[in-house]
Amino acid sequence: MPVNVLSSRRRFGSLRRWGLCASGAVIVALAGCATPPPASQPDALADFRETNDPLEPTNRVFYAVNNGIDTVLLRPAAVAYRYVVPETIRSHTHNVLTNLGMPVQLIDDMFAAKPRRAGDTLMRLLINSTIGVAGVFDVATDWGWPDHESDAGMTLALWGISEGPYLFLPILGPSNPRDATGFGVDVAISPSTWVGQGTVVNAINYSRLGLGALDARSQVLDSLDKIKEQALDPYATIRSLYRQHRQSTIDDAQADEQATVPAWFPATPIPPNGAAKP
């Protein structure tokens, strides 16, 4: 279920809690390593290094498992969701789920030292939770506070931490050590991880989990179908798309240097961050 491959947003919602356990399990399971080509084949060796997927055999197993779960469970559910639920309701559901992710996004923006982005997120949370009726309507975008992508993995990237080798995680799909760590951090700092217990809270969390999965999967229905239909090696294509998309959102965040101080304040040049290119 590589749902976040092409999606322009991280939409997992409370799928995350599962993910935390899953990422723990995968670290134990990471046994199969790919053998690098011999030094007598410099081109093949260069390819191997560029691909940066030393755990490819294991990753491909998880890809196959996720793909199986997706084919029998998630994709049909997403198709049904799209077929049964009207567009308007799906889009409002998406807004609510996005709004529930805003507190975590706010913390990520702050730790990324992006005050203007954090300001956007805070305004979105305040406006959409109140005037937008608990996030049903995305009023903030129309009022000049558009959404952006942000998560702890991106924050780590902006701190200069490189992505590391490619990982394909059970349930979660494409990732890498940095983004998997970021995912764990986001779960840990999410209010829903800490707030309350009992039947009602559990019901809300599970609904959010289920709806989040449906919403995320239905958003990439066509893209993922196309990839599987047109790619000769869908695993490699998803790997490539994930990395490029991640890098581009990190670059966007890095380049986002909106002025936060009055025009008369002396500008200090910000040194380029050392986030490594894949």
Binding site: D233, A236, S240, L241, Q244
Partner: protein, 221 residues
């Protein structure tokens, strides 16, 4: 580049400069060696930013007209193919996608591959026509990159957030053409190259295996 253009402009050869691509090549070659001799930056026939912007604006709107038009899916596909053939540098993209294996391929394999690449590309693009309607495109800005000019546009589809699409255009084929499309930061040709490289890696790096797979794809629809 400007210095080198100026240099050509001052030579009498530039009198016969209009239109004939062979003549232009020769002049450019001469210009390049002159440029090298004077240690000027020897950029190949790079299009200007405004040329690239106009080109993408024009081609983009042709594409939108074809996609949003009233005809059947088949008509739309035919219209798209005409635009692709004229505006997309399929040979350059195909060579890029094969990467280092281009050199390993025999001339016959290269020819077969390019033919098939062309067919599969057109098939993949025209196959999507049905799902796009009411698409609009706005050109934002353009910036030179090492392999061409990147023109940034915003493509909007009904009921979805606007997407950033960059079009990389170059003069490499002799006329202004698209050599890459970068949608939301993901490059079409790079993704394709990674796909092919992975497929080849799992098939003993045998170019013929890739050609056979493409044949299957081309006949599949």
């Amino acid at each position: 580049m400007t210095g080198y253009t100026k240099l050509i402009g001052q030579t009498p050869v530039s009198q016969g400069f209009s239109g004939n691509p062979m003549g232009r090549r020769t002049v450019l070659a001469a210009g390049c060696s002159l440029a090298l001799a004077f240690a000027l930056p020897a950029a190949a026939a790079e299009p200007s930013v405004s040329q690239a912007t106009d080109f993408v604006d024009r081609t983009g709107h042709e594409l939108m007209t074809a996609v949003n038009g009233p005809g059947t899916t088949k008509d739309k596909g035919a219209a798209l193919q005409t635009i692709i053939d004229r505006a997309v540098d399929v040979n350059t993209i195909g060579r890029f996608c094969l990467g280092r294996f281009w050199r390993q391929a025999t001339p016959q394999q290269q020819k077969d591959y390019i033919d098939l690449f062309h067919r599969v590309l057109v098939q993949n693009i025209t196959g999507k026509v049905g799902e796009y309607e009411g698409v609009s495109l706005v050109v934002n800005r353009a910036a030179p990159r090492e392999d061409g000019i990147a023109v940034t546009t915003t493509v909007t589809r009904p009921n979805s957030a606007p997407n950033r699409v960059d079009w990389l255009v170059s003069n490499e084929s002799g006329s202004l053409r698209i050599i890459d499309v970068i949608a939301e930061g993901t490059s079409l040709r790079l993704t394709q190259r990674n796909d092919y490289t992975a497929y080849l890696g799992r098939n003993n790096n045998d170019v013929q295996a890739l050609i056979d797979a493409l044949k299957k794809q081309a006949s599949g629809a």
